[in-house]
């Protein structure tokens, strides 16, 4: 019990510390507010260009994606992807930089479980990045680029359900950054692969069939479909109950596995003295 209490106390303290530090940088609102509104525009214009003057591209897009509303499709994909990305990588990258600076070993001398620092970063990523996503979705709905038909409660359920998978992913990535110094390389490679595989910026219909199969086994793809179907088509949660169960099951397994991976990594790090950058 005590261990759990100190885990959450340390996690929330870490989240609070991260949030204070971020808000202290005066440029935070650019990445947090301006960026989610400007970035999706570039894709909308690109899509407009590709659709051709008589919109003949749209039929093709509709055939692949199941909707003619390509702006909503792309914007939602991008916003969701930005949100998930922050949670998936930030904690690991912070861990890496705190090791580089030389404060990680001092943190590890405190009696809180060491996973709490990573978990705390995940909380701060969620808090920092959630409201911009909401604000920009509201913004695009207001300017009628997105036709918002969803039940907000459904969206929250989907988002809560994907978190165990995403946080598990973060724990595994964090373990990796402790073992290898090439964390940034991993981020870039995996980010591109996932963004293609999970249909974040393009419908997965463009992928070869075998890749589509892989794609549909990744919870992120299913989550993306749930979000889009709810917002664009107004489909209720009952349409996606199977996806939801799948997302939760895989999420749970990933989460538990990731804790084991982190514990094993911690042991390895303590054996080899990797923590101070040897």
């Amino acid at each position: 019990m005590k261990k759990i209490k100190i885990f959450f106390q340390a996690s929330f303290a870490t989240a609070k510390k991260d949030i204070i530090s971020i808000l202290r940088y005066k440029t935070w609102f650019i990445s947090v507010l301006v960026w989610p509104i400007l970035m999706p525009y570039t894709f909308v214009f690109l899509a407009k260009g590709l659709a051709g003057p008589t919109n003949e591209g749209i039929d093709n897009f509709a055939r692949l994606s199941g909707t003619t509303d390509y702006s909503s499709f792309i914007i939602l994909g991008n916003l969701t992807w930005m949100f998930l990305n922050m949670i998936m990588w930030d904690g690991g990258l912070k861990l890496n930089s705190s090791r580089r600076i030389g404060i990680l070993d001092t943190l590890w001398t405190a009696p809180s479980p060491r996973l709490a620092y990573v978990f705390g970063s995940a909380i701060s990523s969620i808090v920092i990045n959630f409201s911009p996503i909401v604000i920009s979705t509201a913004f695009f709905s207001m300017v009628k680029i997105i036709s918002f038909k969803a039940n907000i409660f459904d969206l929250l359920i989907y988002t809560l359900s994907i978190l165990p998978f995403i946080i598990g992913f973060l724990f595994i990535f964090s373990s990796l950054t402790l073992r290898s110094k090439e964390a940034n390389l991993v981020v870039h490679a995996v980010r591109v692969i996932l963004s293609i595989l999970c249909g974040l910026q393009l419908p997965i219909g463009v992928l070869p069939l075998f890749l589509q199969k892989i794609s549909l086994s990744i919870p992120i793809t299913l989550y993306m479909n749930c979000i889009r179907d709810s917002i664009i088509k107004g489909q209720g949660i009952s349409y996606h109950i199977n996806s939801l169960i799948y997302i939760l099951t895989i999420g749970f397994i990933t989460f538990i596995a990731s804790i084991v991976v982190f514990k094993l990594t911690e042991k390895k790090v303590k054996n080899k003295g990797l923590i101070s950058g040897y």
Partner: protein, 326 residues
């Protein structure tokens, strides 16, 4: 119970296909309420010892206990019992204020907010940094920052404090201040293990000193005993107005040694020579002097420093001797 107990600790590393024995079977223990220094040259294994105690490293074999808790089996309890200061500039968050840093670390120690608020205020006052509590850590001088680091280590009122080179990089005044703080911490009944490069620091602070070299403890004792038992030559200087050549010859024969003569402005003659063994040398000299009717103005015997002990035990000389800080 011992505050720290280390038995046959071994730690090896493999670095670039090269095998390094960082700790080669070391054992020592520290009584509660004492200051114990680990003194050794670069790469001796000081930090490795500290890191094993702080549960940042696993030993290959052997045992280490803090207040009875095993560092491998009870690592959480060990970390609760310990306050640790690791070397380096960045052991606080520079973009947070002093108070924010301390509040954050209190949470990492699971302290309750009411207690930690009081504790932080107490420590800030005690170490005279209360007026800087809202300053960003990056804006503090290294000396003040190191005081905040000590506050941080004391947040949970730990029974044992370990300090890895706490005065490294401080100017003489700041490092003297910090040594005084370390003594105050001891006066509160805490046990302190520190590593240092500075002889006089170990000498001034410690109840016990272990000299460590190449992963082995070569000597362990109180600073006084280490110096006393050192079997090295001491320099002896005698001043008088009426030395005679017979007297000097007598000294030469008695101590089998070269005798250096010098005259200063007042015409006083000074002789100096090296002694192999101290024992009854002084009384012998006085006896010989009275036989020759020599009026001795002064006899000075140089005592070995901890540095002499160190050089004698490790065959190494310390590069970093902060003479001006004495």
């Amino acid at each position: 119970m011992k505050a720290i107990e280390i038995n046959n600790l071994v730690k090896r590393f493999v670095s670039k296909n090269e095998k390094i024995v960082a700790l080669d079977d070391i054992s020592f223990s520290i009584d509660e309420g004492k200051i114990f220094s680990l003194l050794g040259p670069n790469g001796a294994g000081k930090t490795t010892t500290i890191k094993i105690l702080a549960t940042l490293l696993l030993p290959d074999s052997g045992q280490a206990k803090i207040c009875g808790y095993d560092v491998v089996k009870n690592d959480l309890l060990v970390r609760k019992t310990l306050g640790t200061v690791l070397p380096g500039e960045r052991t606080l968050f520079w973009k947070l204020t002093v108070k924010e840093n301390l509040a954050y670390f209190s949470d990492l120690y699971g302290l309750n907010p009411k207690y930690s608020r009081k504790r932080i205020e107490y420590l800030l006052n005690k170490f005279e940094i209360n007026d800087r509590k809202d300053t960003y850590v990056e804006k503090l001088s290294t000396g003040l920052r190191q005081r905040v680091v000590l506050c941080r280590a004391l947040l949970s009122d730990p029974r044992v404090i370990i300090l890895d080179e706490p005065t490294l990089g401080l100017d003489p005044e700041a490092s003297r201040n910090l040594r005084n703080i370390i003594k105050e911490i001891k006066d509160e009944g805490k046990t302190i293990l520190l590593t240092t490069h500075y002889m006089y620091e170990a000498d001034e602070l410690s109840d016990m000193v272990a000299i460590i070299n190449k992963g082995k403890i070569v000597s362990i004792d109180t600073p006084v005993n280490l110096k006393k038992n050192l079997d090295i030559e001491r320099n002896i200087t005698i001043t008088s107005r009426n030395f005679t050549s017979n007297f000097i010859e007598n000294i030469r024969q008695e101590f089998f040694t070269e005798v250096k003569k010098e005259i200063n402005e007042d015409g006083i003659l000074k002789i100096s020579f090296y002694l192999k063994k101290k024992d009854d040398a002084l009384s012998k000299i006085i006896k010989i002097a009275s036989e020759h009717d020599i009026i001795v103005d002064n006899i000075a015997l140089s005592e070995p420093t901890l540095e002499d002990v160190f050089i004698n035990k490790t065959g190494k000389k310390f590069a970093e001797i902060e003479v001006s800080a004495k």
